[in-house]
Amino acid sequence: MIKYLKVFLLSTFMVMLAFTNVIYGQQGNIHGIVKDAQGELPGATIIIKGTTVGTVTDADGRFTLPLETSSAVLQVSYIGYHSKEVPVSLASGIVEITLEEETTTIDEVVVTAFATQKKVNVTGAISSVGGEALIATPVSNISNALIGNTPGVTGLQSSGEPGRNAANLRIRGVSTYGSSTPLIVIDGVEQAAEQAFAELNSMDANEISQISILKDAASTAVYGIRAANGVIIITTKRGRSGTPRIHFSSNYGITSATNLQKGVTAYEYALMRNEGIRNEQRSYSGTESLSAYLYNDYDLWKFKNNRDFTPVEVDAMTNLTPAQKEQLKNSPALYYSSKDLYRDQFSKNAPQLQTNINISGGTERVNYFVSFGYFNQEGITNATKYYGSNTGSKFNRYNFRGNFGIQIAKNWDVDINIAGQFGETQGPGINSGPYDLDGRYKVIMQYIYDGNPFITPGIIDGKLINDFAGVPGTIQNPLGVKTGSQIGSQNAVYNLLISGRGTIHNNLLSNTVKVNHKMDYLLKGLNAHASVSYQDNYNRYVTYSPSIPSYTVQRDLNDPNVLQFFGGSMDAGSFNSYGYSNWNKLYLDAGLNWAGSIGDHNITALLLGKGSRYTMPSDSYNVPSGIVGLVGRVTYNYMNRYMAEYNVGYNGTEQFIEGKRFGFFPAFSVGWVPTSEEFFPKNDVLTFIKLRASYGEVGNDQLGGSRRYYYLPNTYNLGQGGYWFGNSDGSSQNSYYQGATEGALGNQNITWERAKKYDVGMELGFFRDRLFITADWFKEDRNNILTTLGTIPAIYGVPGNSVPPANVGITKNEGYEVQIRWEDHVGDWSYSIEGSTSYSRNKIIYRAEAQNPYPWMNATGFSIGQRFGLRSDGLYNTVEELNNRPYNTFTSNRATLGDVRYKDLNGDGLIDSKDIAPIGYPNYPEYHFSSKIKIAYKGFDLNVLFLGSANGSYYLNSGYTIPFFKRAGNAWQWMYDGRWTMEKYLAGEEITYPRSTFDATNDHNNYLTSDYWMRSNNFFKLKNIEIGYTMQPDSFKFLKLVQGLRIYMNANNLFTFKNELTAIGIDPEVTDGRTYIYPLTKVVTVGLSFQF
């Protein structure tokens, strides 16, 4: 706290210092004022053409320049505005110059590594997203907001739970089977690889001015050893001279699941289970005893009619009055009830609230941007509160940011950024680690899958029911024996409620001080700058395990209308508190840059040194991870026609042995704008052409392995693996002698991955850039990928997983991005339509894999993440097909009609591991599409974003596909609807699921890993839509202070068009490979914003 106080005091002092400076002017001056549409424009640059004399406007937009001749031409420029040339003379008096804001693409300014460049001059592959697009996406994570907003950035989510729903971002797909995480840079500060998204994903979108995605080597080379997976640069907002502007925005919304898995009804369940049992009995001997699990016709009637007794049974109850009988006949079932467990758990509409207020402004010497944000999102689970139990998921976040710019003296500028993010993530399932999503979701969801529609019913009369009280098989528990669950009658509601509540309190503070010193006194255009940044993250995990009363229930024998409850005792709950991964990071850099012109030749140069040190006290080696290096850049530009850049990063990390730590990463790029050539005919059709190309090498020191310091020598484990000697006769143990075994083996040659990247791009503007096309082709050759050697023979004597890995893997990745945008206005209507496609496909060229007998068994030659399994060939529909099948070694050849039929790829008459081949595509799709439409009319605006993908696959693992698991597990509607029966086959109906099975396991014929369970995750989504109205100033006279009041409605993830996963109930943007998934969510919000 003291530390932050000091920073505050220091900054306050500097602000005061700045005000005491004196402004001075000269004789023979010209005076002027620069404005934009809204008023005075402070900070604009004015240069007398042909000279180096210039100045900037003051806080009131005014300037004074000495004029040596009687007339001259002033060049006026300001970032984000069209530059203007204005002829003036001493006689002009006070000149008034109005700049127009840039709207067209090519004049946009882009933040690049350690610089800002006009987009027209950029020669690397960089795309950018403005802060408005992020604000218009009402999700908690910036990662998720980026998807679809810029080509080449993709991602999948592993969870929809509040606070844990960030997407795993990939830039231009995947190029390595090591780590594919991009580097994140926030206001010039590189984030630690270990905490790549920690700060980004807890930022408030309102703080962000722009995000740049650096994709090729030319734009990322300066980051050298961390740059191979691309770089995301975030620039936060800063204040601008002028009166304080206060901006307020708030939106409130409702989140709900995008898609829910639909279970069968109890009646369908019973039918399909009976069918499964009869299938077994028809096909296999020794299954006679399964008859005990069949539901009879009375059971089926009861399931269908939601009654525990048939009217005949009720009438036979002699001890009941007619009224009681009538009541009982109309009483819904207790034992034969029907519930849809998945929907019951996840169908809640949960609130979300997002609020931000920020103040910005400044004077000539000081500017500030101060923002406070609040975000709150609740989970979509139902029935989370019961006695002391509160197991709903919730995410709460407070953001603070203060960005200050101070001119402390002539030529000395200081930027101070202070940001704090205070998050609280709450959720159930505390007995797994807070970051172990699979473990947590298993706890709360296992009984959705392992239970059934009529499992003990959850909460009745405010009492949590955990079992039926009656003896199984009696009238008071009629289904207990027939259902015969092997895992008990617990239900999902109970498991969610007792799973406890864990809260992660996370505080992240980031502070950056940057000093900039103009050294024109040494060399015109020379600047020196240095920055220091410190991030400190503290978190604490607090859990509460409640003790809750639970009951068993049965119908009273004397009057079945009466429910009897038993149990309900309760103990004290317990609190626990743990620290988790507290960390801090120091970042320093210092450098020189120079920009100058010789005639029309514009040159810039940069030389910078930097270092960062990430400390995580709980790290096993107790050594901070660090990176240190140098950055160099030279750019050249001739009249905006010819551009060239040379970038180089030279850096190293502590991961590698001394002498092999530092890598040199150069990149070169060129650009040409033919439309700026004098020979190019000026026309209104083809208005802009830029061609660019880049090549460079970058590295990746995040090897994706499980340990650090692969270079350390072979180690031994002492004190374990011992043995016993002695001549005891067994009446006592012999003496234990400690052992020593070889542990991890080192490899001193371990080094970084290396990527060679090529990029060729083209930008075309037509019709005065109303139509704008950007296209990039890229190719990447990645080598040195850390690889476990599969070629070392067993006689080496080191288990495969302990053989030290080596940098031998090679992959390639190739693809393209095309973006087309049309923008125009007709009268009061303005609109734009943008479409983009990105494609990337990778291939493993070499990964030290021993050659399998058949090429389809190798990973080499296929994409990273390629899934392997048996290839299916429909189902066995006839006895002939069944009898002529190859011997299946996975199942002891057990199969029957309606079972999945597999292909014997090598034709040896066996279905075995030699028939396991690539199936489907990897989970991350190859194609991504997005389409943005914007329409504005007077105050109204409409923004729509569509998103889609193609060539990706989703594997349904056995958790989804096996019905009646352990006899009483759940079954899903898509199984029921699509299942094979002989009748359906003969009738020619569509069959999408094998015959019903009973009590099957993973090694059942139908549930072997195969393409039968591979689904395309291709999708087309209405990802985001926003309709807003901004009040016109004159329509809001009653409160003159307020400007730009805007109200809007927004929906994110609103609608997914039918795809192969819709019926199953899975959102296509979720990562596969797991059974227990917290569903992804959509949100519909209403909001308003205004400023004054």
Binding site: G286, K410, W412, V515, M519, A528, L588, A590, G609, K610, G611, N622, V623, P624, I627, V628, L630, G652, E654, R708, Y709, L712, P713, N714, T715, L718, G719, G721, G722, Y723, W724, G726, N727, S728, D729, G730, Q733, N734, Y737, G739, A740, T741, E742, I792, P793, A794, I795, Y796, G797, P799, G800, A850, Q851, T889, F890, S892, D912, S913, T1001, D1003
Partner: protein, 611 residues
């Protein structure tokens, strides 16, 4: 101001660029134990040797083969095949495979683990001379122990795989690892070379009491003797390989049938007996009935020999004494060999490994004749009274090895956890639903193994015997019979047969005697990892017909409808019958283990035929 700027600039640059050490810290490796550290003291160097004992001698026992679940007895017609997720289940039904099931890397062994264990021994052997505070004598002994342990593992691989790559050192990753398999003869020669080398360096007689369990000269002689037995048996000792392996036939066959291999085996086994006799090791027979007479103390003597740690019949045991049921490898070993209620760790996972009828039929009655058991195809089930009458008349080894329904275990009388009611689960396939002639259930067989726990009470651990002198006698019986010395064969056979309380065998027909000797070996070494390899190397005629492959049968017990309490109680049994419960897979390729496909793919190691 300008000066400050320049000074700051210089400072800034130098801070950032000259601070490599600040930003790139190195891990503190002074506490890391590396090879130098291990061999800088006797204590640590010996620890490395002791780990070798632990990891070498587990070979073939649960935890020491590739299959994560089960024991070899479940794939050799002794015990039922386990649960569907057990590796034994898959192997029993679909045979050995080049790709592992249940976590193994292929087959019924873990090919890679052999080499890891051997590497560890070589590291000891190569580095022990560096230890400063150790006498030359000790160093010589430790090198010999390491060598002997390598020989033990090579012996095991020899009869599993055939010819092997000859490894003579620990490798560096940069060494030439392109070492192909050598011929059977070269492999056998190498094993003998290792044994002879180890023999030279080991102490003369027994180790002192506190070092009991370390490799003796006797144990090394026994390694050599067993290796030579497998070399002499018909699988290898034949002019024709069991399957044609093309140019690699020398990996799986000696290429000729030579009776001298039996003579070599006799010499080696006699050497074991000689060494044993002069160092206080003996076949335990306390009955005092004299040679040729049934031993009245058979139950106790057989029980002691198989169960009591450090008994004088055992030349080498796997002395895994851990009492922690959750700690590997104790947990793995006891998991499938201690099915009593004393074993509490995941006990239900071992519930389907009961005794098969196929094996039950091998046991003699206590008068040396054959018992008459229910047969498949009988018209009605037999009464439980008959069962209750028959069991007490079985030979001592049958009673010492198993707990049967209707009986307390004979090996721990009076111990609740070994009693019919205290066993805690059904000791046999049983149920109230009479489904004769079908199976009521599968896997529990007609009894559960209690071998190795004679008189153990509540002790959960035991020391799996690796070499018992009973093996040496039976080896000699087998070898003498093969060379035509029937008298010596019978003399050695009856040492074991009489000790089991049975009257002497007098058969003199070579073929019939061979079958009797093989039956004796099966019974005496039930559950001791011998049968799975013996029957293959004998090329047993019934290997596909109820031993490794073929129909597996389990008795089924109907429980009285009004029964209460444990199904195991004698009063609850109503009737019983035999039923085929599964058909096990056999193919001649299974005579030897497959090399894992992943290893063959590396292009250096040749696969055995058929896989």
């Amino acid at each position: 101001m300008r000066k400050i700027g320049i000074i700051l600039l210089i400072i800034g640059f130098s801070v950032v660029t000259a601070c490599e050490d600040f930003f790139l810290e190195k891990p503190d490796t002074t506490g890391t134990v590396d090879l130098d550290e291990v061999y800088s003291s006797t204590k640590n160097a010996e620890a490395a040797l002791f780990s070798c004992y632990r990891n070498i001698l587990i070979h073939g026992w649960p935890g020491g083969w590739g299959v994560g679940h089960g024991a070899l007895a479940s794939i050799s017609g002794e015990r039922s095949y386990g649960y569907s997720w057990h590796g034994t289940y898959t192997i029993a039904l679909t045979g050995l495979s080049v790709n592992g099931t249940d976590g193994s890397d292929g087959g019924a062994d873990h090919y890679g683990n052999n080499w890891s264990a051997i590497r560890a021994c070589f590291l000891v052997k190569e580095n022990i001379d560096r230890v400063p505070d150790m006498s030359e004598t000790t160093k010589t002994q430790i090198k010999a122990e390491a060598t002997g342990l390598i020989a033990y593992r090579y012996m095991g691989m020899f009869y599993r795989y055939g010819g092997l790559p000859i490894v003579r050192k620990s490798f560096e990753a940069t060494d030439d690892l392109n070492i192909p398999r050598e011929s059977l003869q070269a492999t056998l020669d190498y094993i003998i070379e290792l044994c002879d080398e180890a023999y030279q360096g080991l102490p003369e007689g027994r180790w002192s009491n506190e070092k009991t369990g370390r490799l003796t000269r006797g144990a090394v002689l026994a390694i050599k003797a067993r290796a030579l037995m497998f070399a002499a048996r018909p699988l290898f000792n034949s002019s024709k390989p069991y399957l044609d392996n093309g140019e690699h036939n020398d990996l799986i066959s000696f290429g000729n049938e030579n009776v001298s291999r039996w003579n070599d085996a006799i010499t080696a086994n006699e050497a074991v007996l000689n060494w044993a006799g002069s160092n206080g090791y003996e076949l335990i027979n306390t009955g005092g009935a004299g040679l040729g007479q049934p031993n009245p103390n058979a139950l106790k003597d057989y029980g002691t020999a198989t169960s009591t740690p450090s008994n004088n019949e055992v030349l080498l045991a796997y002395k895994i004494n851990s009492t922690n049921q959750w700690e590997w490898p104790a947990s793995a070993i006891f998991y499938y060999l201690n099915t009593s209620a004393n074993w509490t760790n995941n006990r239900w996972d071992t519930d389907l490994v009961g005794l098969l009828t196929n094996f039950l039929e091998l046991y003699y009655k206590n008068d040396g004749t054959n018992q008459e058991w229910p047969k498949i195809g009988e018209s009605s089930p037999r009464s439980a009274e008959e069962w209750l009458e028959k069991i007490p008349n079985m030979e001592a080894r049958c009673l010492a090895d198993n707990i049967f329904p209707g009986f307390d275990a004979y090996n721990n009388p009076g111990v609740y956890n070994y009693s019919a009611s205290g066993w805690g689960r059904s000791t046999a396939n049983s149920g109230k639903e009479g489904v004769f002639p079908n199976a009521i259930s599968v896997g529990k067989g007609c009894g559960f193994p209690v071998k190795f726990y004679y008189g153990a009470g509540s002790r959960v651990w035991f020391e799996p015997p690796l070499f018992r002198l009973a093996e040496t006698y039976l080896n000699l019986a087998e070898a003498y019979n093969e060379v035509g010395n029937t008298a010596k064969a019978l003399e050695n056979l009856n040492m074991v047969h009489n000790r089991a309380g049975l009257p002497s065998i007098t058969e003199t027909d070579k073929t019939k005697l061979r079958e009797i000797i093989q039956r004796e070996k099966a019974i005496e070494f039930y559950n001791e990892n011998h049968r799975y390899y013996d029957v293959k190397h004998w090329k047993h005629k019934d290997i596909a017909n109820g031993i490794i492959g073929g129909n597996m049968r389990e008795l089924q017990f109907k429980i009285k409808a009004d029964a209460s309490g444990s199904n195991n109680l004698a009063v609850n049994l109503e009737s019983y019958w035999d039923a085929v419960t599964y058909t096990a897979f056999w193919s001649p390729m299974m005579y030897l283990e497959p090399i894992p496909q992943s290893e063959v793919n590396k292009g250096i190691t040749v696969q055995n035929p058929g896989y």
